[in-house]
């Protein structure tokens, strides 16, 4: 639980700007480089063994998508950067997995940083993974932190020769990747929505200290999620507003759709937040109501018996001259009196609506 915040913070202070330094949880898996190169009619797909294999696609007229899983090997990033003529600040950001989502336009490329969100079943927690997408002339390069992604749908569509994606140029491909990332948010949101409803039930029916911890940890997750998602709206909003030579007119209508989806993600997050805070109020009130009920009943029992105990105490005194003690009818009368007192108090409490 703790690792998440710390990880958001940079650790390279003091280095020169533009230095490519890997920042993230040290990942020792081998970096894999997957290439899909396609034109309207042909398609070539393979995994590159070394980075040099992909260099030839720079000049090729076809559309190329190079997907690199793993950014801990900074040598690979530097080589690609040098060959494809990418800006040093861009390379620095690719290797630093603490970037916030953003879009930056450089001379030769458009650069996106996004956060892919997935539910890690091992640690039962939501995790984010940084995805950098570089849209250049005739190629799209995507960098992922770890192997395994959510782009299978896009790959399928390319392979199956879906008209739209094969006919379009690289900007549509980049759009498709971003679309896949945003669409994936909805699955995460659905999961959170289910959790919220579960907790809601718990809050209403069986509120306990555990419920509180659940609400709190969900709140915490929403805070971190929000931090990842919020800037994406800005990113896509900027793409919509500003003309960019990298994005063609036909693709713009799709961007508008994407923008709409992002806003829906954010609105759902906000709704969740509102609901959680409403739930917290309900929880607090519920718990304190229950507690109050308990205390009231207990106190009423005590209150009933304390005066009676006083009375029997009186006739437990050992004075020589207590005329009541020798009256035969006094003992049963005392019982009657005590029962009357008890009933009177109970009636009074009833009338006051305390019981």
């Amino acid at each position: 639980m703790t690792s998440k915040i710390i990880n958001k913070i940079d650790k390279k202070s003091g280095k020169a700007p533009g230095t490519v330094t890997y920042i993230g949880k040290n990942n020792l898996t081998k970096v894999s480089i997957d290439v899909i190169d396609f034109t309207k009619n042909s398609i070539e797909e393979f995994s590159a063994k070394n980075v040099e294999e992909i260099f030839r696609f720079k000049e090729k007229k076809s559309s190329t998508w190079i997907n690199i899983s793993g950014v801990h090997d900074t040598e690979i990033i530097k080589k690609i950067g040098a060959h494809f003529g990418l800006h040093p600040l861009l390379l620095e950001d690719v290797a630093d997995t603490n970037q916030r989502p953003k879009i930056e336009e450089f001379k030769n490329e458009l650069f996106f940083v996004l956060k892919m969100i997935y539910f890690d079943k091992k640690i039962n927690e939501i995790r984010t993974e940084q995805v950098s997408i570089i849209l250049g002339k005739g190629f799209v390069i995507s960098f992922l932190e770890d192997p395994g992604d959510i782009f299978d749908g896009v790959r399928e569509r390319i392979r199956k020769g879906k008209v739209k994606i094969r006919n379009s140029e690289c900007d549509y491909l980049a759009y498709s990747l971003i679309d896949a990332i945003i669409d994936n948010y909805f699955i995460i949101l659905e999961g959170i929505g289910e959790k919220i409803e579960q907790i809601e039930d718990e809050v209403i029916k069986t509120p306990g200290p555990e419920t509180l911890k659940d609400v709190y940890s969900l709140k915490r997750e929403l805070i971190l999620l929000r931090k990842s998602v919020w800037p994406i709206r800005e990113v896509i909003g900027t793409m919509l507003r500003e003309d960019s030579k990298f994005i063609k007119k036909e693709t713009r209508e799709y961007l508008r759709d994407l923008h709409d989806h992002t806003i829906r993600v954010i609105e759902t997050l906000e709704t969740f937040r509102d609901m959680l805070s409403g739930m917290l109020d309900l929880y607090t009130s519920n718990v304190s109501n229950k507690m109050n009920e308990v205390m009231k009943v207990l106190t009423i029992i005590s209150t009933l018996f304390i005066p009676l105990t006083f009375i029997v105490g009186v006739y437990g005194m050992n004075f020589e001259h207590m005329p009541e003690l020798s009256l035969t009818w006094f003992y049963p009368s005392l019982w009657v009196l005590m029962i009357i007192i008890s009933l009177g108090m109970l009636l009074y409490f009833k009338k006051k609506k305390w019981i």
Copy 2:
């Protein structure tokens, strides 16, 4: 109660953009297609048995309103889209009932997504239904999720040959439909207003755990309502600001009125929210005040008798040498003493304003 949030979330991640997929509660009722075609002087009204029947209205010079109840049959949507030349992204949004209210201008049509709100008496809850309105050249197509709508007023006005609506072109017809949806919000708001006043009474007079749940569920309803209504302001604001070839100058003044209504809906919602949160504070204070009162009285009773019980305990001791025990006047004096102590304490509590 739970279905509402989940339903707001998309389930089609991974598909290509522009794929028409029905997203919503599976609805097996037959889709009904109702057509009203009118000019200044003539009117034709019928229910189409199949979608091909309505194709001829595309070219016809008259104004045509095609109302389709049911969006689960995606074939119908695709056919209409193909024939009337609608944009694929638009068709996707029609079939996906999780859209947020929006306006989008395409080359051949203006596309509105709105949320119709109605009170479902069966489940005693507010429900929303998505309404898509497509304003093209010479026709308006409206898609509804379920049969049954709130457009009867508009139909009446067309049938009765009301000058304004029959003389105007399709943009005024589209405006009338939107106006009917917004006007309907006021009825819902009125219902909520009545509920709020009812709860307010309850909070002041008989606050109980049930009241709290009522406040909470009303709050929840307001959160979801707000999500449906808020973007509509933006939609109509955009329509007002930007020139659109689909909306004529004469209609603009009516749009301004619509904008005003939407703002009134939102302001009323905000006022309700403020009142609810004020009520929650009042509830909490009221409940805790009542509880405090109870506890105070009970504690005062205990406090009165505990010292007296001690005193009688003293003379219940069995020491052989307790000179008081053989004094005849001691027992009655002890009663006097205990009465004095009780009255003293009561006076003290009174002076301190505790009772």
Copy 3:
């Protein structure tokens, strides 16, 4: 108390836009029409018996102020609208007393909707009344919901031939009416300010459940007031920013002053709101402090006597072999012991600052 919110909500859903329908509390008093017509040198003032009497002022060169009290007789509104050439949407808004304050410029007239606020002594509550002001060429028409208004000051100035108002044209007259409405807000604010100070005293000195209800109902009043006043700032701001042919340059400087007053009204409202919420915190803390004090004292009394009761209980036991019972000095020593225990506990409580 309840009528206020409901009344804010529209009841005419389903009618065509532009239909003049009275919405408000049915008012059966006769509509009165008062006319003041004046030039620099002459003045004519009378009450019209029927609406046709005022028609002649449309063409007259002089400045005319027509004040109509009562908007429930929609026939009169329609007749005036037809004769003076007013827009149908404007007429609809005049008859619907649920409008929010706004300004709308039509071809022939500038249309203001404002809310007059007054304190209704009968029901001991603040009430709002809708005032519609129509500024046309050479005439000002004002519609009020009920007879009785706050324009006497303006009338006096016209009658006394005050240079400024008689020399100016109709835009200055309209400004004077709005100025009178805004100025009146300060009186209401002053009243609320006094109430707040009264409650503040109560909160500090004698907080009780009644105080809470007062704070809550004041808060509610502020919410509703705010809703009435807030949009007026926008109205006057719009008037200031945008050039309108209906408002002359000389009058603009006065508008700036008006804008300033409105901001002052709003800022005072906000200050009141902040103070009320601060007061609520203070109230809650005060009440809980007092309660805590009471409970502490009561609990201390119980705590003092419970151990002593145990001790005397010990020597109330009837064992045959309790050597202490036959020791002459034991009984007085026990008293000494119990006094020492009590004092010790009191000292401990004192040291701990509990008493």
Copy 4:
């Protein structure tokens, strides 16, 4: 304490705009008029006995600063206004001490309203005083509510022939006056800062009901201060943004500095507000923690003795057949048992971390 809010509200509703009416606490001290007239080389300084004495400075080429203490004598204001050609709305605002800080540009003058803040030692409270500054061609007129001001520093600099202020024109003089007012805010803020730290100490060490009242009254002061200071930022921001013929280019750089100071004042106020509300949370938690501690200890004492009291009660019963009563070893064993029970309970409480 109460006078402050009421005073903020206008009392002249119904009068014509531009009527010069004194609004404030009736001040009977004589109005004093102090004049400093200077050029680069000469200086003339005197107190005028009547308002006519200052009329000659209107035409004079030198820079003139006329400082008028007291705005309750509206005749003087009217005379000055007439002679120097000031706008009637401006004169109305000078006499009305409830203005909010603002800047208004008229044809012949630039008009500032500011709030001077000082700590009134007599009533131990922060007070505000309205300062109106009129910057005309060759003269600056400043109006103060009461005698005594914070402009001595400015006077000294003029007298000492400081190069900058003597060389510059009237706009720099007006700037210097405003600068003196803003600089004075820092002293007030420092005082509040000290109070806050004092209260912070109290909250942490000895929180009591008095602390709460202090926090509340400080909060109240901050609300009122904020109301006075906030609009000043706007005033100076407007001066910076808009070109005014009254302010020369050289002076603008100084205005930027002033703007910066105002923002610092506001930020400090906001920081104070945040700290106060944090303190309130801490106070509430601290008080309730302490209370809880007390109640816990007291309840533990009761809980310890109540079971023991029951046990001794058992052997105080008078049954003829209670075999334990005649066993010699039973009484001491009972003591042992009771000690074991007590220790057991204490250990249990200890284990549970209740004591």
Copy 5:
């Protein structure tokens, strides 16, 4: 802890604008002046003994970085200002360590004020130090409050002849200094992040009054940090938006990166704030839950024994005629009865889920 707020407030009210007055904690250490002068190929580095030594660099063509530690010796500041032709208001701000971060463009120089943040281990607290950076033609002058800085990385890069910094002009040098300051924030944030996680653990596992004080003091630190960092975003945003002759086109891309970093700092601060306030809620609920548990158990114990004490009290009475007393089986039966009553109550409590 207290010094921090007071220090934020100015103490020079009344002085003329542009007066260079030292405001800060009086620092008696000697001012040190360090110069690095470099071109593409050469580098000169030395510590100046007096301020006159550095005058020659004004005219020199090379890039010069003059770093001055200590701003309490206003003579040095004045001399440098006079020689390098700096604006008097700028000099005033250099000596006043209470400035808020800002950027100001003067005729001959661009002036930055920033806050360097470091963790002072002696007082175990975060401290801020003002850094003023003056970017002129061919030189950068930086003023620090105390000796010791975070610019060693920059110095290293210059010394090692790193291509970028040696090739670039002074704007890149100034950028590098600001970059070093911002990068340093991340280290501080990381430290705070660790503290937050530590407190989070405490809140969940062992919440106590100390935890509360920790949360409060962390909150306080965040408020002050925010005040230092927030305006920097504005500063760099302004640098990005506005064209400045002091900053070349190539450097702009680096500024964008810097802007991004600042936003990340601020977002992290906001996230921390959200988490802290969530933690406070959790703390309050946790503490009150624990307290409630304790009170409930204690009250249950009392409630169990009070009725039993009453029963044994009954048979402790000394009436002559109590038939039960002489029944042999009554005493053991009474024990059975009391055990049944206790078990009954325990079962009831169990059923009600109180224990």
